[in-house]
Symmetry: D3
Subunit: 130 residues, 6 copies
Amino acid sequence: MSDASDRLTRALSLLERLEPGAPERVQGNLNAFHQDAAELVLGYAFADIVGRDGIDLKTREMLTVAMLAAMGTAQGQLEFHMRAAMNTGVSREEIVEIVLQASVYAGVPASMNAITAAKKAFEAVEKSGP
Amino acid sequence: MSDASDRLTRALSLLERLEPGAPERVQGNLNAFHQDAAELVLGYAFADIVGRDGIDLKTREMLTVAMLAAMGTAQGQLEFHMRAAMNTGVSREEIVEIVLQASVYAGVPASMNAITAAKKAFEAVEKSGP
Amino acid sequence: MSDASDRLTRALSLLERLEPGAPERVQGNLNAFHQDAAELVLGYAFADIVGRDGIDLKTREMLTVAMLAAMGTAQGQLEFHMRAAMNTGVSREEIVEIVLQASVYAGVPASMNAITAAKKAFEAVEKSGP
Amino acid sequence: MSDASDRLTRALSLLERLEPGAPERVQGNLNAFHQDAAELVLGYAFADIVGRDGIDLKTREMLTVAMLAAMGTAQGQLEFHMRAAMNTGVSREEIVEIVLQASVYAGVPASMNAITAAKKAFEAVEKSGP
Amino acid sequence: MSDASDRLTRALSLLERLEPGAPERVQGNLNAFHQDAAELVLGYAFADIVGRDGIDLKTREMLTVAMLAAMGTAQGQLEFHMRAAMNTGVSREEIVEIVLQASVYAGVPASMNAITAAKKAFEAVEKSGP
Amino acid sequence: MSDASDRLTRALSLLERLEPGAPERVQGNLNAFHQDAAELVLGYAFADIVGRDGIDLKTREMLTVAMLAAMGTAQGQLEFHMRAAMNTGVSREEIVEIVLQASVYAGVPASMNAITAAKKAFEAVEKSGP
């Protein structure tokens, strides 16, 4: 197995923990753009960085939600990572707190956008629940 | 005690936990700007939001560092909250991981700026150490 | 009446001036997210800050439109505050000028997005007109 | 011919090179907002700046795509300038490379949003192709 | 007089109202960069847009301060426009209110940075006072 | 040679082309932060992405300057990449044009900050010249 495909395999394995079924969808989306995109982008994000030790995956997803809510430029990915956060053990209450905290550091509009994302993520997780 | 002064008292008490001695400096800075600024801004940030239950203070500071590193517009406050993170139990290793994670979600330049802030924060905490 | 509910009452009263009927909708939206969200977020935004003396409400709404147009991350809220601006006495001509000024300080794409928001806001105010 | 109308004429002529048919649509959109908007905004963007010598139009469109992808606040205009880039000689492969490069400087979410825009732009150019 | 030099003349005349002595400094700075920079950039900013009727100069400077405080990426220019605001009739109290309002729409760190800028602007205007 | 060290070697080799002597300084800076930082961050930026075929290095540096100027949050890195652009064949005139183009897409303040960076980069390259 080449190292590039190994990096991709590790990235997809972490992505599966974030949301079961996501690897197929995300990899398909990236492959339709360019054959190297999945390996490069997912490889860096998930195999190189998010998969590192030092912070557990649950806390990492809280940090990702915090960053995306503060930046305010990737609403779809904020929703995805709110679902991923819940899939890795973050409670709804914790997501509420992150969203409220975003109002302090990024302003009320960033927080309101994150509330919209959270409502959709809460609903999606409910539907897919046991 | 009026409610406004109670809110400020709770905010300053939390700020003292973030960095011993900070309340005097920050309150002085804000009072020199406007008499209501400390109560309003610190009151909202620390008494209303960051002081809430639901997420412990250590994790909240990790989230704040994540938000400020991702936004990239408040280098001084990023340094402050990296020191505050260490003062509330965040390890250097965890700060390193947050900074590396910022390169994924906000880009390499945001991460490089956060490395500069982290180095200063590490040095400051070392100097003030026991 | 507790102080928290008093703060919320004052916030909702200002929100009613920004757009008649908005308090019910916005409060409902926030309550569905978390029971404290309306009091905290609206309380800070409208009772603590925007409701202050020192700048009249019409000018405050012009400033809010300017900030949201420049940031470019909250299109829905930009539309809302353009309607609110008109509801508090800002003319269409003044909104046009703010939008053009945004092209200088935040760039042409920010201004183009604000034009899209303004057209929707102009239409909405027309429909709800006397 | 007055100077203002001359500036607008030159701007619309460049816009026609970016996307055949765009001048009517964009000018109509801006005129419906304010009679001066097309001359001011398009005049500055295209006659004053983008129409300057010193960098050829193909490279300028690559730069515009880079800026819009990095900022992440104008998805519709990013799509437009990806189509315009292709209309002025930028290859799909070059757009792919700009989008991947955006992941380094602005983060993976900015790059993912640009991938979404690129797919739409690729499809639109295909449909309108010979 | 050519139209370009007329546009520059009108821009510099407005700039002189914003801060006496600024035209020489700013034009010198831009000319040292490129011979067309002053005419293009100042011409667009001040002659084409900020010099328009429809909003008085005092209110326009309040809007500029609001935009720059919200964006948080141009601290030096925020200071300049706070001084310019005071030079065109904006009171210190009004600047305080804009800065506090920025905490709602752009977050507390943006507001804290604006407080730093305001303190410098207040001091500078005091020194140059009658 | 392990793959990680190979990736780092390729990244440092590209960095040497951007600015002779930079690899030692940048690697030292990153190593002082964390032993993996140089390999991860430089490896992704320069070996994985910027070192790819499809766009030549000169054009890539123009794109990087465009992105950093538009984002406005990494002034030091903007200066570095302006020097790197000149080291890879970008002319001063082309940098001037990118900076002026940034005023259209990111606003005049972003452009003014880029002018400040360009002046320093021009001076630095002059000093180190033959």
